[in-house]
Symmetry: C2
Subunit: 498 residues, 2 copies
């Protein structure tokens, strides 16, 4: 079939020509792929990410167009754009977390996170060290996705330097396709050897059973399509095993790391009201000034509050927010996930709530629920909560690398004091809503929680992500301690040059 008077659009032209040659073979592949996709969409347990990167002018766009035409495009999405300003004012990986396909869907990325690393390194916008760090982030990111049921397939588009030049000249001479050979393509042609070398490091360092690379040599688009289709079908029909979680043994002594087991019982006298009010006023005035400076310098701040039930999280948060401009902060109460959150890997619930630069996100309970309540109440599997430590470190590290401040506070009370507070709550009309059956249930597992909390401290106390353990048996002292800690951390960040 030809159309004499007009050129065929690249998206389907040669497909139609090829159809006569090996109709049967491609049709079979196509239907098997469609079938695999429909199972995926029906079962909604996994999602698929197909990523294409590599050299320029290797038919990536064409192959994606045709593949998309093969698939049921109601369950597919293609991502190939640069970051928006909303994305640039958040930690780097936010832009990819928000684009991860829901369970049941296929996401196709052209270049994606590999393109960022590859071209930034080729153009020396990324130092060797920063490139190395980025590859480590990629390994973490992909392992996390794989563990959460995302099937990954990464394709590297190869082309020889001479062949690339030949193809570029050919494109340039065709008025209908000359826009495909622009300055960027020529620049990347000039960097062929560099891209080749960086590409090798990139593939070697991020190869994993759960996120395999395949190289695609330069062929006619129809042939490339078949190879991509087969590779995709293979991983969809037999998804690789997710990465195993290995949890290092903890040493007995961890200097500097908080611990409930080793904490001294509070013996100080209760603070009297007048002294409390004066110190509170001072601390809040100081916080108001710090927060204005944080806004001016566009530093994002995340404050995570965890603690025993009835330790006084709400009250402490209230004393912090009282000093803040309501336009600058938001309190996120972390409860059960929504169904949109359940359709995505676990981490998305927290990534989506990261503040934009200059704002403060306060978490009333946080991502640590995974290794506390979800662990103790067996809402997460052992593998899930065990790998969460690493995922959490990765998540927190991203905020720090973006220049943010991370403040983690654990509010602790003694078991007897908790009982007194529960009973007091039950007796006070406007506090009764704070006490639920769950609180009483959690209390029954007090010792399990204490162990989980101490392990959390030991595994996630890190530079820039230190835990502050605040004894709350005296509420007034606790609130002042929280304010003092928040102020100190903000001031430490503000004292740094960047």
């Amino acid at each position: 079939m030809t159309c004499a008077d007009r050129p065929l659009p690249p998206a389907w032209g040669s497909w139609a020509r090829r159809k006569k040659e090996d109709d049967m073979k491609t049709d079979t592949l196509r239907y098997r792929l469609l079938d695999a996709q429909l199972s995926l969409a029906r079962e909604k347990e996994r999602s698929v990410i197909l990523l294409l990167t590599g050299h320029a002018v290797t038919h990536k766009g064409q192959v994606v167009n045709r593949l998309n035409h093969w698939l049921e495009n109601r369950h597919t999405e293609v991502h190939a754009l640069g970051p928006s300003s909303e994305e640039q004012s958040r930690p780097y990986w936010w832009r990819y977390w928000r684009r991860i396909p829901d369970r049941g869907r296929i996401g196709i990325f052209i270049h994606g996170w590999y393109g960022d690393a590859l071209f930034a390194r080729a153009e020396r916008r990324l130092s060797a060290g920063a490139f190395h760090d980025r590859l480590e982030q990629i390994r973490h990111f992909e392992a996390e996705l794989a563990a959460e049921g995302v099937v990954l397939l990464k394709l590297w588009n190869d082309i020889g330097r001479r062949e690339q030049r030949h193809h570029l000249v050919e494109l340039q001479q065709d008025p209908d396709r000359s826009w495909q050979a622009g300055p960027t393509e020529w620049q990347r042609h000039g960097q062929h050897a560099i891209i080749e070398a960086i590409g090798k490091t990139l593939r070697d360092d991020t190869e994993a059973p759960h996120a395999p690379w395949q190289r695609l040599s330069f062929r006619e688009p129809g042939e490339q399509l078949s190879r991509v289709g087969r590779a995709l079908l293979d991983v969809m029909e037999a998804p690789p095993d997710p990465p195993a979680t290995t949890l290092a043994a903890l040493p007995d002594e961890l200097p500097g790391v908080p611990s409930l087991r080793r904490a001294d019982a509070a013996v100080e006298e209760r603070l009297d009201k007048a002294a409390y009010r004066e110190d509170l006023a001072r601390g809040q005035a100081r916080l108001a000034r710090n927060a204005r400076e944080i806004a001016r310098r566009r530093i994002p701040v995340v404050i995570a509050f965890e603690g025993h039930d009835a330790a006084g999280k709400g009250g402490s948060i209230h004393r912090v927010t009282a000093a803040l401009d309501a336009r600058q902060y938001r309190v996120h109460r972390i409860g059960a996930p929504s169904d949109e959150e359940l359709a995505l890997p676990w981490g998305w619930r927290f990534w989506r709530r990261l503040p934009v630069d200059g704002r403060i996100a306060i978490f009333d309970r946080s991502w640590y629920g995974r290794v506390l309540v979800e662990r103790v109440e067996k809402l997460a599997s052992k593998a899930e909560w065990q790998r969460a430590y690493g995922e959490i470190r990765h998540f927190e590290q991203q905020l720090l690398e973006h220049g943010g401040v991370l403040i983690k506070v654990f509010l602790a009370i003694e078991k007897d004091e908790q009982l007194r507070r529960f009973e007091a709550r039950a007796d006070t009309p406007h506090k009764r809503h704070k006490l639920t059956d769950e609180d009483w249930r959690n209390r029954e597992r007090w010792d399990d929680y204490q162990r989980a909390i101490d392990e959390m401290f030991a595994r996630t106390h890190a530079p820039g992500a230190e835990w502050s353990l605040v004894a709350c048996d005296d509420k007034r002292r606790a609130r002042l301690a929280v304010l003092e800690h928040v102020n100190e951390r903000l001031e430490a960040r503000l004292a740094s040059a960047v």
Copy 2:
């Protein structure tokens, strides 16, 4: 209580001073508000929007800070920022739709949509006509929110010109607050009379029982807070009735509007395969060129497909997308809403899917479900589907005003042809997944659907938002007709200068 050596932060200082004077009165108000908020959060049926706008330096920020301190801030959000680039590249109202609080939550807006209109008009960035249109949009927007259970309260902050000047000078002389009297505040002081006049028009034109205005005269912040608190409590304890839906009677004859009742049965001979392929190639090549131009000129495009079951929506969409670059479009299949969508007014499901400038969003079923399946199957109440016509017109109008293209296609088949196709689907292995029990159920209500479809045409066929009714008994002719229609609409838009 005073703190001699440092100034008190504005957020809580005078509150603490006032506390001694009328502790009891404010405490009662505060607890009643908190109580109303907790009921709101528990019942999750309504949300509340409190909007403050008006003259500059009238303590808006302080009042919001303190109110936020009174409320349970886990269920509150404050919005006061200008639009991001993601927002600017979508129709105007997108930025507010995405900020509507979930059911159970309170959203506080400083200026919000009124500030945009007020200051743009004061600075003559908005013509008198455009200002008038904006006020009409505001009325639609607020009526839509109110009908969906959003309780609205709008406060206008008054201040006399002399008093404003006095207050500005006072602020300027206080080193801790001088930042509150910047160039913007002085500029707005200079425009006091203009703001006063525009404000009056704005309030008069947008006053409604479901979205009432209250004026706040300039007082000491603590007193303003009490007045705001009481006003908020009033609307929360006794929410106004939602606006009534009035549906105009339809004239018998609507020239130019499609109608199934008046449509001629297709009698044309079926198109042969060779001719079809040639025309398809031509149409797709043309679409590929048009789409590239659409991308270059950053025009957003929305294509909505509706139709009888088995009319061939999927196949028609496929013939359109085959000509497009996969990076440019996304197909949205509209099924049951997610729980995050259910927590927000109905329209949000569609607003959130509007494409960014230069991209194409294709809807496989659309917002018209409200007046088709939801109406016929009684999934929406009569009031809901009746007011949907107006909401839909408003929604579509926003896309057009933003410079977008809206293409609405209805694919129709005869009742007998549908039966033949259902039976054929049941017999073909790779098509069987397309046929569900629901299809058979819908078929039983054929006549109800026909009536609903014709009413939809009559009520939503509008300039720039015309319906195209495509007879699909011959699939090939139908696909070509869809392509032709899409091309024509894109070319008409491309031919316009803007």
